[in-house]
Symmetry: C2
Subunit: 282 residues, 2 copies
């Protein structure tokens, strides 16, 4: 695709990785952050051509502006930017929940500005630019959430950038569908990992007995509490439904255990094996 000028606002794990990947793909990337240390590191690591604590001037000369902030901050940031955006500019976000703000954001937009809602499905359990690494995008899923207002051209621009960043699977869904699916594939696993770690009696011995199973299931229990409390609360109804569906399945296991029903337990295991192998081919 054509080389663009892109400003990334918020140089955390995701924003930093966007900057890194887009610079590597040949785009001109500016980066801004309220923390001067993050801007300096982004420059030192060659992730951005230039940057500062102030987004307006960079955004004014950009084809695309990426708001890589927590969901609750996107509206305020957009409001501050709007007077400066050039005609035809595309703004995008990286938020893991959509339904609650799509309509409000679209109501704010002037005629010449497109907002393409996007969710890069890749991250790290750590926060901050030190952990930014564009390799996490390689082959990952990239979700676009177009609305009736989204132009085909703006959507194409974001599709192109996602490809440039290395995403393997780029798809479009409605905001409602996005939030329903994300509750299951992302937020439920986080809720489970957190509950698993917290359910330990904390005997001094647990640590010595940990194997791959516990390690894998709890990696994401080390969690950015500011971001994830927003994501959970912003998708409350869907997440509560997913937790209930999950608990129903766990209760099935409890019931067959209480009955010592080996055949039924084997059936449950056969079903999970078949689904897992169908969903994840590796």
């Amino acid at each position: 695709m054509k080389k663009l000028v892109v400003t990334v606002i918020g140089l955390g794990v995701i924003g930093g990785s966007y900057a890194m990947a887009l610079t590597a793909a040949g785009h001109t990337v500016y980066g801004t952050d309220t923390d001067p240390r993050s801007v300096r590191e982004a420059k030192d690591r060659g992730m951005i051509a230039d940057g500062s604590g102030e987004a307006a001037a960079f955004a004014a000369k950009s084809d695309v502006v990426v708001i890589a902030l927590y969901p609750a901050q996107v509206k305020a940031q957009l409001a501050a930017l709007i007077p400066h955006l050039k005609d035809g500019a595309v703004v995008t976000d990286v938020a893991g929940i959509k339904s609650d703000y799509v309509a409000e954001i679209e109501a704010m937009l002037p005629k010449g500005v497109q907002f393409v809602f996007a969710h890069p499905m890749a991250g790290r359990e750590k926060r901050g630019i030190d952990y930014a690494d564009s390799r996490v995008f390689k082959g990952a899923n990239f979700i676009l959430v177009p609305t009736e207002r989204t132009s085909e051209q703006a959507l194409e621009t974001m599709r192109g950038l996602a490809e440039d960043m290395g995403f393997g699977n780029i798809m479009s869904v409605s905001a409602q569908k996005h939030d329903e699916i994300i509750a299951f594939v992302s937020q439920l696993p986080h809720a489970i990992a957190v509950a698993l770690v917290n359910s330990d009696e904390e005997s001094a011995e647990t640590e010595k007995f940990i194997g791959d199973s516990y390690r894998d299931l709890t990696r994401i229990a080390s969690i950015n509490e500011t971001l994830w409390s927003e994501l959970f609360l912003g998708n409350r109804e869907n997440l509560l439904r997913s937790i209930s569906d999950f608990e129903a399945q766990l209760d099935r296991i409890k019931t067959v255990l209480e009955r010592s029903d080996k055949a039924a337990l084997e059936d449950i295991f056969r079903s999970s094996s078949a689904r897992r192998q169908r969903y994840v081919k590796k």
Copy 2:
């Protein structure tokens, strides 16, 4: 340590990996399996010096006999072996549950035979010798379950073999403690992974949205149903208690979600992050 003669009975993922690791460490390893194909493959891959479908003759000339079978098969296999074992022989198992059979096995043992109960905490979600790979032992936990009958010398022999196989952390606990901890660090994660995979509505779209979280949390949902139904049922009470403790934590998350209590949710996340970082240093 001194080079020993070892017979591995059952050339599946774990038995095959034992054979591979012990041969690599310079011991003389024989392998037996009821499936002639597994014996042939173990020979072809250089995992064993010799082998067959019959354990007795090899066991008769071995210092150590590893019964790498499912827990329910250990007693019958031991009974068949006892007349053939040489004086001073050490027998060991690889079973993931202990309490239910330790006493019964010890009651069977003649004076000159030691049984050292062991649990190598490493495995694969696949079964069969094709997936045997001694690298999974590297740095993993190896649990010894000595009893009053276990001699220090036999325990030392098994400790030495575990070191030779590459295990990183070798420790001893009672059978009761073993089963309590294993319910939490191993069986509960498996129950959760299975319930998570089974709780999906199976829309055609889930697959496209899967990210690292779902992948990590469900790897072990692809599960050997014969083995794991034995392990679950053999440790029923401990596992039911672990599931209940876990559900209590999940209910806490539900409660704060229902109340939209962001501060409480952040506290829960901070607690899981701190514990995870304390338990798993990587």
